[in-house]
Symmetry: C2
Subunit: 216 residues, 2 copies
DNA sequence: TAGATTGTTAATCGATTAACAATC
DNA sequence: TAGATTGTTAATCGATTAACAATC
């Protein structure tokens, strides 16, 4: 399946959205769809959909369109959702707890195998059935458990040191909720950022832009 | 200040990141920086930084560079962070609670004025000093309090009806954490999505893409 | 077969990068 | 003044859209 060469970032970022819409069609028992119909629903052009899909192969059929089920499964495979990457979560505060309980890791190619926090009073607490472990045990845990990715839900200030520590333990893949930018710390890591502050500021800009009076 | 015409989406999406980096420089008491130095730190080109900033005005000085403080303040103004938009949060589950407690709304141009949930047992619980209110009181609350934006932290299934209800109450701005896509429901709304599932799937793709053996 | 819709090439559009004159 | 770095125009690159022949 993988690896696909030369797929542009914009294309990849659209894949989960296709997957989501196809999943909804599937639930509504829609069996086939044309690029035209899908483009109407999603608010983009039919051309773009066909271009995007054809980066990975010809999934459609002339005169018919695409099989919803078939396309859904294909995109799932392309995204690699059939994997089972092991992930640990660092930071069992409000955000970490929410991420741990809220996400269907298994449906997205991951498995949550450990939760760590520096607050010893949280030790042993169960979140999603997983006991919170003292961060001091990180090294021993990682030496005993193959760890593919780390989810960072820690404060900005402790992020660089933590990232360094995880890097030393061989972890190269990060889902980063911290407000600190670790993307440029090493050049052999993969970082997917969730910058909630950035997102909220962009909303603020867009509201301001829509509401404020134009200059004379 | 606002409104800026014809600013492209990629430029806007980079602004919060500039703001973040400048904030860090400020904390380190750096007073001036050139586009070149900033580009090194951020991992983009000096040309792009100068192009981006010049969409809004000439903030630099030839032969000198940019004043960190000045640029930071300017970008804050451009983003509209000096606003005080009122926002309500719907859904006081793990995610809603995390968002409510975790975000510095005031620093991002917002003020959280209400929290709603359909679970009556949560009524009255304080989150960030704000009592959780029964969702049935939404209409009366909104008629008494000017509400600029809604933060959606509810399950996928209840999202479309809720969005409809909020739209009827005159709310046009949404920060959407739900896995349901409300962007296309109306054409006069502003929606900033936080699709955690999408983000996790993209991480999955990127790990798969980096690890899997290339086809022969 | 005729109609529909894909896969794919070509044209357009927009964003990024390079270059350099202006100027602090 | 000389050196540095911006603001801005021009060149390049990449992504999106349009068009249409292939084909189910």
């Amino acid at each position: 399946m993988h690896k696909y060469e030369n797929i542009s970032v914009p294309v990849i970022r659209r894949l989960p959205r296709y997957y989501r819409f196809l999943g909804e069609l599937l639930q509504k028992d829609v069996t086939r769809i044309s690029s035209r119909e899908l483009s109407d629903k999603m608010g983009l052009t039919a051309s773009q959909i066909r271009q995007d899909l054809n980066c990975f192969g010809g999934f459609g059929q002339q005169g018919y369109g695409y099989s919803v089920r078939g396309l859904y499964d294909q995109i799932g495979k392309i995204l690699g959702l059939d994997h089972n990457y092991s992930a640990i979560l660092i930071g069992a505060g409000n955000l970490g707890k929410a991420v741990a309980t809220h996400m269907s890791f298994e449906k997205r190619g991951f498995q949550l195998i450990g939760i760590f926090d520096s607050d010893k009073s949280k030790e042993g607490t169960l979140i999603r059935g997983i006991p919170v472990t003292d961060i001091e045990e990180l090294e021993s845990f990682c030496s005993q458990n193959k760890t593919d990715a780390a989810i960072l839900c820690v404060p900005k200030t402790s992020t660089p040191q933590l990232a360094e520590r995880l890097y030393q333990l061989g972890i190269r893949n990060f889902w980063n909720f911290s407000h600190y930018d670790i993307s440029n710390m090493y050049d052999d890591i993969i970082v997917e950022n969730v910058h909630l502050n950035d997102s909220l500021m962009i909303l603020c800009y867009r509201i301001s832009d829509a509401n404020d009076v134009p200059e004379a």
